[in-house]
């Protein structure tokens, strides 16, 4: 087939049709294929985003279940429920899955679902890449769990320090599976980061200049740039590990001139920004919840945005605080102490701006707002304990003890998870068209908040009692019994709260659809469209003139017209001023992303067992890539049709 551009005379445009007909035509044009095969072809960002969210939620539940088992083993001294080998696999899988397969993909899923809607676009940029990234994530996650259930779960900690994870001490294929899981998630993560950056910079509705960008979109932009800048570090180091294990290189072997400390630098250079990668998008989401439930714009928009950018920037300069005990020069440690502590300034700025918003708003304490309260209670504790463990002398006592376990759970559960739950409650009606039950939600919130406060405080205290991390049991009578039981009771309370959430979700989904498009009278563009949104998102591309369009201009949201209705077209605007630049053709749904993810998966999993898999595996990958990128007939606009 010869590549050609076809110009048509008088193509049907959205300006020519009334709402009902436009809806019918767009629904037909943007239709996603049905059926089993159609399911694997979907390129709709809402469908892919939903799959990301559901898959990440499943990972959360499974890894949470592992946490419950860990707390059972540690609830009493001298328990023999788990062997040390199984215990090591369980805590490693818990940490690995929570960080790489729950937290990061969950924020990616929220970005994939919400960002195109929030910026007023019909679709995400590079929709096939988006579908591909999801299947890579899905297969990487499946690989880890299958390995876990056949007793090959990773067992060297989620940080996989060499030499313990290296060829000499990491037995079997466990660490290879861990390292290859990194490959899967980094492919998915980099792809999503790219799509989000381009979507935000080029697909914004006219009028949505940078100072009108919703805060979540700002957070998504910063996060995506952070993913793009930090992931190369873990790409490098996990490749070194795979090479050491698979083909006998000596990157980390001191006997041959390698250095095991290199792993720690490269790992934490990624893994510290990662904490902010999973924290900033929830902060952005929470800003919208607070705005809606306080009935006023978030106070200090420029300050909050600058704080988010500042956190993104600073988070690259403090990885060494994970390594105080490795014997780096004292002056270096002190420098990183100061830089670690300084990140509390933007964090504090966000918290003070939110307090100011609450102080001058008219607050309806709905369930999403309850989750914001739990953020304040838990995350502020996480931040304050964080300032403590940033101090070199105190950290040398606290590091690698349960004090850190308590601190990091305050931050991640109180920051990321609590805010994601606020967001889940807030956008559930938009995504599903149904409401969750408030009373069940309140009980769930109380169980969660009390459980988290009790469990993580007890863990912090255990650290001060000398309990080191990653111990599978402890003897009776050394002062750890009571606190461990308290920590376990708190953890089980969190577990119970998630059972209630599941119940709530199933009850909501069993009711018929029929939610209002804007049940909370919120201000963002995404509340303009039906719940759940139609496949094409917006009937006409909106034009906005404020930061809170549905509040400022509820009945007068303008529209850009001139897009074709018989072709998938999106409006591309300039990055800063959002002037319409061109109409861009969007690729059709396709099976190629799925086929590509399958052949990539075969190559990557094969390479765990033999380096030759990279050679023969490259053949189907090449064929699949050619199939994906094979040039096709494109209906392109005439140059003179480009709106200016």
């Amino acid at each position: 087939m010869k590549w050609q551009q076809v110009y048509e005379e008088n193509p049907p445009l959205d300006s020519d049709l009334d709402d009902a007909e436009l809806d019918a035509r767009l629904a037909e044009t943007w239709r996603q294929p049905h059926g089993l095969i159609g399911w694997f072809m979907s390129t709709d960002h809402k469908e892919i985003g939903r799959r990301y969210i559901i898959t990440a939620f499943c990972h959360l539940l499974l890894a949470g279940l592992l946490a419950m088992i860990i707390r059972l083993q540690l609830a009493f001294p001298g328990m023999h429920l788990l062997s040390p080998d199984l215990y090591n696999q369980i805590f490693t899988t818990h940490g690995t899955v929570m960080m790489f397969l729950f937290a990061v993909p969950m924020v990616e899923g929220m970005m994939v679902y919400l960002v195109p809607l929030m910026v007023g676009s019909r679709i995400i940029a590079f929709p096939r890449l988006n579908a591909f990234s999801y299947y890579m994530y899905l297969f990487g996650g499946l690989m880890v769990w299958i390995a876990f259930f056949i007793n090959s779960g990773p067992d060297a900690g989620w940080f996989a320090y060499v030499p313990l994870s290296g060829p000499e001490f990491g037995a079997g294929k466990r660490s290879d599976i861990w390292a290859q899981m990194i490959t899967f998630t980094e492919v998915a993560g980099l792809a999503v980061a790219l799509e989000i950056i381009v979507t935000i910079l080029k697909f914004r509705a006219p009028g949505m200049t940078l100072n009108r960008l919703p805060i979540f979109v700002w957070a998504s932009l910063v996060t995506s740039l952070m993913i793009a800048l930090s992931m190369p570090s873990i790409v490098t180091t996990s490749t070194f590990l795979i090479l050491d294990r698979l083909v006998g290189t000596h990157f980390f072997n001191p006997a041959e001139g390698g250095d095991s400390l290199l792993w720690q630098h490269l790992f934490w250079y990624f893994a510290h920004p990662e904490v902010y990668i999973v924290f900033l998008p929830p902060v952005g989401l929470a800003a919208h919840v607070i705005e809606t439930f306080c009935r006023r714009r978030v106070f200090g928009y420029p300050a909050v945005v600058l704080a988010i950018i500042g956190q993104g920037f600073l988070s690259f300069g403090l990885w060494v605080h994970h390594m105080y005990a490795t014997g780096l020069p004292h002056l270096g440690n002190s420098f990183f102490e100061a830089s670690s502590v300084s990140i509390a300034i933007p964090s504090g700025t966000i918290i003070f701006c939110w307090l100011a918003t609450i102080a001058t708003g008219r607050v309806k304490i709905g369930v999403p707002m309850l989750w914001i309260i739990s953020f304040f209670v838990l995350f502020v504790l996480g931040g304050l304990t964080g300032v403590m463990v940033a101090s070199v002398p105190f950290d040398l006592q606290a590091t690698d003890t349960y004090a850190i376990v308590g601190h990091l759970h305050f931050v991640l559960v109180g920051g990321t998870v609590a805010l994601l739950l606020a967001a889940a409650w807030f956008w559930f009606p938009k995504i599903t068209g149904r409401m969750l039950d408030d009373r069940l939600g309140t009980v769930q919130w109380a169980l969660f908040l009390i459980g988290a406060l009790v469990a993580f405080s007890a863990m912090f205290a255990l650290g001060l009692s000398g309990m080191t991390r990653r111990v599978y049991t402890y003897p009776q009578g050394i002062g750890w019994d009571t606190l461990n039981l308290i920590a376990s009771l708190g953890a089980w309370s969190i577990g119970l709260s998630f059972l209630l959430m599941l119940l709530n979700i199933f009850r909501a989904l069993s009711r018929p659809r029929g939610g209002a498009s804007n049940p909370y009278n919120a201000s963002g563009l995404e509340w303009m469209v039906a719940s759940p949104p139609p496949v094409y998102n917006y009937l006409r591309i909106p034009v906005i003139d404020s930061r809170t369009p549905l509040w400022n201009q509820p009945d007068s949201i303008g529209a850009v017209v001139g897009l074709r209705v018989d072709e998938r077209e999106v409006l591309v605007t300039s990055a800063i001023t959002t002037m319409p630049h061109m109409r861009d053709h969007v690729v059709a749904p396709s099976l190629w992303p799925f086929i590509n993810s399958v052949v990539f998966t075969i190559m990557l999993i094969g390479s765990i067992y033999t380096p030759k898999a990279m050679v023969w595996g490259a053949v189907p990958v090449a064929i699949a890539l050619i199939g994906w990128l094979y040039p096709r007939r494109v209906l392109a606009p005439r140059p003179e049709e480009v709106p200016s």
């Binding site: 040390p84 313990l164 009935r295 102490e337 502590v341 300034i345 105190f394 007890a458």
Partner: protein, 337 residues
């Protein structure tokens, strides 16, 4: 300050007389770090209560039953007031954080000062999952080796020269000092100065594999005279077996699998074992298996028969012996004071 802490669960840690608690200091540096903790806790506790106090006060004062109409145009005077107040709060944050960094830096310098001019040097080698301890001296005949237990004289700065032969470990005496990672290829050191007599438990801090849990290094801080007695005893070769059974036990030890890894020095020139704990003065130590069990005859018997029951994954294999040999071996080992 301590009463404030009693309001929190942290009290449970602070008040219990725990032999491995961070806040039960037995050295000047742990005391300084403990002080730093209480300082942080007091300031941070106040900040936490203030933030939550403001939050709940505002929520209560501004509460509404329903979602009201949104406030589109904020009152400029109110916003200006907010800018001042938020600005002040951020300013206060900067000041407090600067104070924290300053205080922490001062304590860090103080800890360094405690480490000057060490008076005794001990080489500690971390193995999966036990500690080899070598007391260094200018006199080669004064050097001796033991395992999983360190004795130090009180009020003496002791330099521990740290090295690892396998994976990354980390040495931590909660009552005495912070952790120091022991990274293969990077020899490290830490200086400890115990000023309270007692048995202080040290642990491996960095996850190091199957038996990271039982990798204990006990530190006995004792008055100088007592230490010197212990030191002199450790330098001696092993006690000769006195009974016929113990003599047979010695043959079992030397002829069987034990001697493949462990050593029991019977002469002053014999060498120490470095692949497994040296057993020359086994019964002078309080635990077996680096903290896995108390060092009693019963546990020792169980340990030899099946060490994996007490410490799953330990590198020592289960030893198959007939009961006569086993009893004889025990009799011999029990005599190694």
């Amino acid at each position: 300050m301590k009463r404030l802490a009693c309001l929190t669960p942290l009290l449970l840690a602070a008040c219990s007389r725990n032999p491995s608690a961070v806040l039960d200091a037995a050295s000047p540096s742990a005391r300084a770090t403990g002080w730093l903790f209480w300082f942080f806790l007091a300031v941070n506790g106040v900040i936490w209560l203030l933030v939550l106090g403001f939050l709940f006060y505002f929520l209560w004062r501004r509460r509404e039953r329903t979602l009201t109409a949104p406030l589109i145009q904020a009152d400029a005077a109110v916003e200006r007031k907010l800018i001042t107040r938020v600005g002040l709060a951020i300013g206060a944050t900067v000041i407090i954080l600067t104070l924290f960094v300053g205080v922490s830096y001062a304590v860090d310098r103080q800890l360094l000062a405690f480490q000057r001019r060490p008076q005794l040097e001990i080489e500690v080698t971390a193995h999966q999952w036990w500690w080899e301890v070598r007391y260094l001296s200018d006199q080669p005949s004064d050097i001796f080796v033991t395992a999983n237990e360190i004795h130090v004289p009180l009020n003496t700065r002791v330099k521990l020269k740290l090295q690892s032969t396998d994976v990354i470990h980390s040495l931590w005496f909660p009552n005495l000092s912070g952790k120091r990672d022991i990274i293969p290829g990077h020899d490290g050191e830490m200086v400890i100065l115990a000023d309270r007599a007692g048995v202080w438990k040290g642990r491996c801090g960095e996850f190091c594999g199957l038996q990271h849990t039982y990798m204990e290094l006990r530190l006995v801080a004792e008055p100088k005279a007592q230490f010197q007695t212990w030191e002199a005893a450790q330098r001696l070769p092993a006690a000769d077996p006195v009974t016929a059974e113990a003599l047979r036990g010695q043959q079992v030890f030397n002829g069987g699998p034990c001697a493949a890894c462990h050593a029991i020095r019977t002469t002053t020139t014999a060498s120490y074992s470095t692949n497994a704990p040296d057993l020359t003065h086994l019964k002078s130590r309080t635990t077996i298996g680096a903290g896995a069990a108390p060092n009693t005859k019963g546990y020792l018997s169980g340990w030899i028969n099946d060490p994996h029951a007490m410490k799953p994954g330990v590198h020592m294999p289960a030893i198959q012996q007939n009961s006569k040999d086993h009893q004889a071996l025990l009799a011999y080992l029990e005599g190694l004071k």
